[in-house]
């Protein structure tokens, strides 16, 4: 450790700037050489990690006979047959109801989350209530409770009031699932609004609405968008609640996918096409929210 104390090199900087520059130039050589090796290694690993996704996409464009070969036929002819099959042109089983259910559940629950979370985040950052950290940790603790520990009462309740297989009940569940994350994320975004700007606006006599529109919204908007995308992803991906609380009418896309679990080998291309179609919204949302993804997934604790 003793050789790593920052004091020593700092003093040498003051003593002889010229020699430091020379030494810096030298040390920069090493990182550059390392970088090429690191770059190659990173690219190899990136390709390895992405290969199942690439293979999924490639297989989805193959015919069923080309898909189920050993060794794999990478150069086989491309066709849209699997997609036609998936959308039910030949089988008559349409994925559209489940896709629409998923879209409804994800979009509407995300809207509800934003409606509830934005005022809450405002009360936790810009005009903080007393003991706001305690409230924050209460929100977080609800997220840490496994869904399985509450699912039976939810199921029984839904059955009693006749809300089983009802998309609105699922929307409420997804709202509660994403609300804590959204509050945490949004608080960290609203906390970035500079205090001086708020004070200046207040002194100028701007009312709350004007402050929200002109001062807070411009700073917080990208964060709110990222929060919405992440809530959308979580709702779109969810399986356990959907499987227990929905059935024929309100089944979502992941529930539809479970129909392929014991699929026969001959439908490999169709399985891949299904996986591609259902993952597309998440891939788009995820790449769009890439920069803020970490902050969302770590509940706003890491930037």
């Amino acid at each position: 450790m003793s050789t790593l104390t920052p004091a020593a090199p700092q003093s040498s900087t003051h003593a002889s700037p010229g020699s430091t520059r020379a030494r810096r130039g030298k040390t920069r050589m090493d990182p550059t050489r390392n970088n090429t090796a690191a770059g190659i290694a990173a690219w190899l690993l990136a390709l390895l990690f992405a290969s199942p996704v690439v293979w999924m996409i490639l297989t989805s464009f193959h015919s069923e006979t080309d898909a189920a070969t050993n060794p794999p036929s990478i150069a086989a002819n491309l066709t849209l047959d699997a997609y036609r099959e998936f959308f039910g042109e030949t089988s008559g089983v349409s994925p559209w109801p489940s896709l629409i259910n998923s879209a409804a559940a994800s979009i509407l629950s995300t809207v509800l989350v934003l409606v509830l979370a934005i005022p809450a985040a405002y009360a936790l950052s810009i005009r903080p209530v007393k003991k706001w950290t305690d409230v924050m940790f209460f929100f977080l603790s609800t997220k840490m409770m496994p869904v399985v520990a509450a699912i039976l009462p939810l199921y029984l309740f839904a059955r009693t009031i006749g809300a089983l297989d009802n998309i609105w009940f699922l929307i409420l569940m997804y709202t509660s699932m994403n609300l804590p994350i959204a509050v945490w994320m949004m608080r960290s975004f609203l906390a970035e609004v500079p205090e001086e700007m708020l004070e200046a606006a207040q002194i100028d006599g701007a009312n709350l609405l004007l402050i929200l529109r002109k001062v807070i919204a411009p700073v917080a908007m990208p964060g709110i968008a990222a929060t919405a995308l992440i809530c959308f992803i979580f709702s779109w991906n969810e399986l356990l609640l959907a499987r227990v609380l929905t059935g024929v009418v309100a089944g979502t896309a992941p529930v539809f996918l479970t129909g392929f679990v014991s699929g026969q080998g001959l439908f490999l291309a169709k399985v891949c096409a299904a996986a591609v179609v259902i993952s597309l919204p998440v891939l788009f949302a995820g790449f769009a929210a890439q920069d803020k993804l970490v902050q969302g997934l770590s509940l706003g604790a890491v930037k």
Binding site: F49, P71, P128, M173, P254, I278, A301
Partner: protein, 322 residues
């Protein structure tokens, strides 16, 4: 906190009025502050806390919905069953093995990837995007791909590549794996590590990029080896991020249902607690037993979550102090 109190007291207004009305004014203002928070708070308490209280209550009942007349108070019977029934006990062990191995493996690989991606190289942004992809495939879809397209013993990609490599050497009897039936838990672990490594990488990369570079540069000039820099500067800085990634990952992976359901349907000792609970109440209709198992999961999660909360709190305090 200091900024909060500073905003509450506005001396000019309160001093001019009589004490009582000032007090009620203050109370009204406190409620005005709380009002935006209440809908979210009340909603969450109703939807997440009440059901758990009901679960707790049901866990002490002898309740199988197929024989509703036999519903009665069971005391701790369900808990004894959870801890002694071979299947449920196996589910507890499976959950622990699954969680620990997936978290450790994805943290280690994620750390390696984050260290590589922290360096500048050609196409770094694209490589990062490719690496995030596994995390962005819908979990059920990912599990399906692993089951059918990659691990299928007859025509999966893994065996396909083995066949292809062996055929290059003129060998017509390549080794073929059947992970799904021979080591099903391993199949679940591999697919989960693949999906969770990007998550760990992203958190650790954020940690690396928040590292103060002046000390690293200083150490480099002092001739410290890369290993020494990693060991004495990078790792201590990353500690909180490693903890956070590990604990958040643990909380999500303990709850994993999709992979177990899709890849193995809980067969051959791969049923973890969420899957076992799902089966206990959904197919066996043993409501009391399922609830008791649910409470056991919560107790386990609370233990992990206490540490997680502490880590989040320390990072959070750092951010609040900024």
């Amino acid at each position: 906190m200091t900024t909060a109190t500073a905003r509450i007291s506005r001396p000019g207004h309160t001093a001019a009025r009589p004490a009582r009305s000032a007090k009620s004014r203050e109370r009204a203002m406190a409620w005005a502050r709380r009002a935006p928070l209440l809908p979210a708070l009340i909603f969450l308490i109703v939807v997440t806390q009440l059901p758990f209280v009901v679960t707790l209550f049901i866990s002490f009942l002898n309740w199988n919905s197929l024989s509703p007349t036999k519903t009665a108070f069971a005391g701790l019977e369900n808990y004894v069953t959870v801890l002694t029934d071979p299947d449920l006990r196996q589910a507890i062990f499976t959950t622990i093995i699954l969680t620990v191995s997936v978290v450790l493996a994805s943290l280690l690989i994620g750390l390696g990837l984050a260290l590589l991606l922290d360096k500048k190289f050609l196409g770094r942004g694209l490589a990062r995007t490719l690496l995030i992809a596994p995390f962005l495939v819908v979990p059920v879809a990912a599990a399906l791909i692993w089951k059918h397209a990659l691990l299928n013993p007859a025509y999966g990609l893994v065996n396909g590549i083995l066949t292809w490599i062996w055929s290059l050497f003129g060998n017509t009897t390549p080794p073929q794996l059947d992970l799904l039936s021979q080591a099903p838990l391993m199949a679940v672990i591999v697919s989960l590590v693949w999906q969770w490594t990007p998550f760990m990488m992203l958190i650790l990369l954020a940690g690396l990029q928040s590292r103060p570079m002046d000390t690293v540069e200083a150490a480099q000039m002092d001739g410290a080896t890369p290993w020494a820099i990693f060991r004495h500067l990078t790792l201590p800085h990353l500690r909180q991020y490693l903890e956070l990634g590990g604990l958040l990952g643990a909380i999500y992976i303990v709850q994993n249902f999709d992979s177990v359901f899709t890849l193995t349907a809980g067969g051959l000792g791969t049923a973890n607690l969420p899957y076992a609970i799902y089966q206990t109440f959904y197919y066996a209709n043993e409501y009391g037993l399922a609830s008791a198992a649910g409470v056991v999961v919560v107790i386990g999660t609370i233990i992990v979550a206490t540490f997680a909360l502490r880590t989040v709190f320390s990072l959070f305090k750092k951010e609040a102090a900024r």
